[in-house]
């Protein structure tokens, strides 16, 4: 078994942790929110890389898992508003608006933080487990898998757009006031959320690193490169694929739960198929099969997005489209692969 990181790697990680702790005190609250958001995306990118970069499965359902985690968190945040909503009712505003008299069954126990945390992990995990089990068992793979995960995401989006589903229809959840008792808009809470997100990002990076350097990671890579051979060697590839798919979905759910309190809104458009494909391009641009690459990719693409949508909104789609095309045509290993190649050439 290889080491998790060399001494240089540990030093870099330590520096990153210190930076995350210090940075919120040095930058404006706008940047705290923006960077916090990008770190959530980076966590999703690592999750995507685990399944796509290391196991060769392109899931277009990761936007769904992300949004499900967000919705689980959002339910709790809606209950935390209490009677301070527009209608001063115990029920969330949209339910009063729809003339509902009691909470529907989905909202059971939703005022408990521990229950929300459980849902954040369990809902995406369970969905991924069941869906993955049946899909991988019937040997749905490659593009087929991408298309049916996309169909799943699309169906879920339509479902969440309905008012009758009980999650606020197309407005979703917003106007949050508090999280575990703290006012959600104060700079202190924002900094705390930023720090937690940063720690989760580093934790995810370590977890992913641990997986890909372990035997499990080796088997995953083997499945990516030659699935039939791996199966003939005696590995039950279905189990490995389901496991990594579920883990990846759980990580996405956690990222979504961190994202919602920072951004302050969750609605069904988070589930649109376009979002899931965008996750893939963060990973492709950064470099599949490297762990730091997707983090860089998520940062670059989303940094560019907030720059373009403010400065030149009409050019953003051209730019994003170009990244999609150029990254797949000319950067098969991504930015990180480019750096590695240069390093190797020097050595």
């Amino acid at each position: 078994m290889t080491r998790l990181y060399g001494p240089k790697g540990w030093i870099a990680l330590g520096l990153a942790a210190v930076l995350i702790a210090v940075l919120p005190f040095m930058i404006s609250s706008y940047w705290v929110t923006l960077l916090g958001k990008i770190m959530c995306y980076a966590i999703v990118a690592i999750a995507m890389d685990l399944i796509w970069g290391y196991c060769g499965i392109l899931s277009l359902g990761h936007g769904l898992f992300f949004a499900l985690g967000g919705y689980a968190m959002g339910m709790y945040l809606m209950r935390q508003i209490g009677r301070e909503g527009q209608y001063q009712s115990d029920l969330p505003d949209f339910m009063v608006f729809l003339d509902w008299k009691a909470l529907p069954w989905q909202w059971w126990n939703s005022d408990q933080f521990w229950w929300a945390m459980l849902l954040v992990v369990a809902v995406p995990g369970l969905l991924a487990f069941v869906f993955g089990y049946f899909a991988f068992r019937s040997r749905v793979k490659g593009v087929y898998f991408s298309i049916i995960t996309q169909a799943l995401t699309f169906a879920a989006m339509l479902l969440f757009f309905r008012n009758a589903t009980g999650f606020g229809g197309n407005n979703g959840f917003t106007d949050f006031k508090r999280i575990v008792g703290f006012a959600i808009t104060t700079p202190e809470t924002r900094m705390a959320l930023f720090a937690i997100t940063g720690m989760v990002l580093i934790g995810t990076l370590l977890l992913a690193r641990w997986i890909v350097t372990s035997k499990l990671g080796r088997v995953l890579t083997a499945i990516r490169d030659a699935e039939t051979r791996a199966a003939f060697c005696g590995y039950n590839t279905v189990h490995y694929k389901v496991a990594v798919f579920t883990l990846s979905a759980v990580i996405c759910g956690i990222a979504g739960a961190l994202y919602v309190p920072q951004v302050g809104i969750i609605n069904p458009s988070e589930m649109s198929p376009a979002n899931s494909i965008e996750i893939a391009i963060w990973v492709a641009l950064g470099g599949r099969g490297t762990l730091i690459g997707p983090v860089i990719g998520a940062g670059v693409v989303n940094g560019a997005k907030s720059f373009f949508t403010q400065a030149f909104p009409e050019y953003w789609l051209y730019f994003l489209g170009l990244i999609f095309i150029l990254a797949t045509l000319f950067l098969p290993q991504g930015v990180a692969g480019l750096a590695q190649r240069r390093q190797r050439r020097r050595a």
């Binding site: 169909a151 799943l152 494909i277 893939a280 391009i281 009409e314 489209g321 095309i325 797949t328």
Partner: protein, 500 residues
């Protein structure tokens, strides 16, 4: 509401009744001018029973908010209820016109529900009516009016009369009567209701069937191009929807050009080939510049073509604006065939079904009867072997991709006739068309046809039962489950090519 038809009717009435000389009821006019709403409606009724030709002129002025009493113009407020009564009264007066078309139009308008106070006039019109089409309509109108008022014998007769009709209107009337306090009327109405419902059910079934075929043909058009690029060539083209969108915008541009000439109704003749050529050209350029380098790497192709689709959407937004553009139907596409009393088949949808069938036949001929088709099939089955016997495989790829893209353009041309054309048009079809191709079985043209029709029917039947959104979700879930049971689709390839 003061249309030329009404003016013509007024003119016709003057000659018909001969312009009787006595003055209009002054009391009625004053009520129209200054009474409250109930009094106004009462006054309208009075004007109608007199059947005075000048009543039309007065009512028309009244509907636009003006009454003349003793040569003085008085402004009046007309609310919706009063305006509706005035409109019905105008229609009733027109029942006496000598032109058949006017009478028919008036009877049709009244048949959608009119106030019972018009009854005397309708009966008067019935006495002289001989036309085979107007008379039954009028009888129906009279019956529905009698049902609301009249004594018991009249109401019973009216109910029997309504029980023999096929209009959805009489169904609502009978349903109302079926809850009547009088037991005899209740019974008779229920009997009539069952009869009407039985007759209407056929119409509903036919309507549903047609909606299913119509949706199926649209899905088929959207998916046929993909059946070639994805099904035969194995290229995941996420920009397929945007090629449809380009076809629709080409139709829009052609339409704008034709508007300046006098041959607007013929613009589709030019738009169909134009949308094919433009979309095919865009597709061939894409194949040469991007997709060619990604053969054999389907996941990368998916991402790159998604990027292309984003750029195409933005390009169209830059050129035409983010708002939807309006594509007007040529005159012969508007209207429809009245198949049954409650079923109208719109011409635009009928034409698109025929168009889809034509395109399908064209593709089939092209693939089985031409040299290009032979090459495409050869390259699909065994690229290396085809190359060995001298097929220019690279060029065939470009042509085949252009063909698939061109068909997407044709789909766009057809879709532009049904709804709005906007930059996001294609996004709505990409998930659907992929599912059609996958459901039918990749590499199977026949499978695509069956899948499109099946999904079209299933969608419409579920929609009638559970609402549009739930139907769509149910269908998506069904396909997801189906693909897991049968990953090769409905029509799986057998033998050696199944492994490829």
């Amino acid at each position: 509401m003061v249309s030329w038809k009404v003016r013509a009717a007024a003119a016709a009435l003057f000659t018909f009744i001969g312009g009787s000389a006595h003055a209009l009821d002054r009391a009625a006019l004053e009520k129209l001018a200054s009474g409250d709403n109930d009094q106004k409606i009462e006054a309208i009724g009075a004007l109608v029973t007199e059947a005075d030709p000048r009543a039309i002129e007065v009512l028309m002025r009244f509907a636009s908010g003006e009454v003349e009493v003793d040569g003085q113009k008085i402004e009046v407020v007309v609310n919706n209820r009063v305006r509706g009564a005035a409109g019905d009264a105008l229609a009733a007066l027109r029942l006496l016109a000598p032109e058949r078309a006017l009478r028919l139009a008036a009877a049709t308008e009244l048949a959608t529900g009119a106030d019972a106070s018009m009854l005397p006039l309708v009966q008067k019109a019935l006495q002289n009516e001989t036309d085979a089409q107007v008379r039954p309509l009028l009888e129906l109108v009279a019956a529905s009016m009698q049902m609301k008022s009249g004594d018991k014998a009249q109401r019973l007769a009216a109910i029997r009369m309504l029980g023999e009709s096929t209009s959805p209107n009489s169904k609502t009337l009978l349903a109302e009567a079926a809850r009547d306090a009088d037991e005899e009327i209740q019974l008779e109405a229920q009997k009539g209701l069952r009869a009407v419902e039985g007759r209407l059910a056929w119409g509903e079934r036919l309507g549903l069937l047609f909606a299913g075929v119509s949706l199926g043909s649209i899905l088929l058009l959207a998916a046929l191009g993909l059946a070639i690029t994805y099904g035969l060539m194995g290229v995941i083209n996420m920009a397929h929807g945007e090629l449809i969108m380009i076809g629709a915008y080409t139709t829009y541009v052609v339409q704008v050009f034709f508007r300046k000439t006098g041959f607007f109704d013929w613009y589709l003749l030019a738009a169909v080939p134009a949308s094919f050529i433009v979309a095919a050209a865009v597709g061939m350029i894409l194949e040469r510049v991007v997709i060619r380098w990604l053969y054999g790497r389907p996941l990368e192709t998916l991402l790159a073509t998604w990027g292309i689709s984003l750029m195409l959407i933005q390009l169209v937004r830059t050129l035409f604006g983010a708002q939807n553009v309006q594509v007007e139907n040529p005159a012969f596409m508007s209207g429809g065939i009245q198949a049954l009393s409650n079923v109208v088949l719109p011409w635009s949808r009928v034409m698109i079904i025929a168009f889809a069938a034509l395109v399908l036949a064209g593709i089939w001929l092209l693939l089985t009867r031409t040299r290009l088709g032979l090459f495409v099939r050869g390259v699909t089955q065994n690229r290396a072997m085809a190359s060995c016997v001298g097929v220019p495989t690279a060029r065939v790829d470009t042509w085949a991709f252009g063909l698939g893209s061109g068909i997407a353009g044709l789909a766009g041309c057809a879709l532009s006739q049904l709804g709005n054309v906007g930059p996001d048009l294609g996004q709505g079809y990409i998930v659907d068309s992929f599912l059609v191709v996958v459901f039918g079985g990749v590499g199977q043209l026949a499978g695509t046809v069956y899948a499109a029709l099946t999904l079209g029917f299933a969608n419409k039947f579920l929609e009638a039962w559970s609402g549009a959104v739930l139907a769509k979700i149910a269908l998506l879930v069904f396909i997801i489950v189906f693909i897991q049971r049968r990953p090769q689709g409905m029509f799986a390839l057998k033998g050696r090519s199944a492994e490829a």
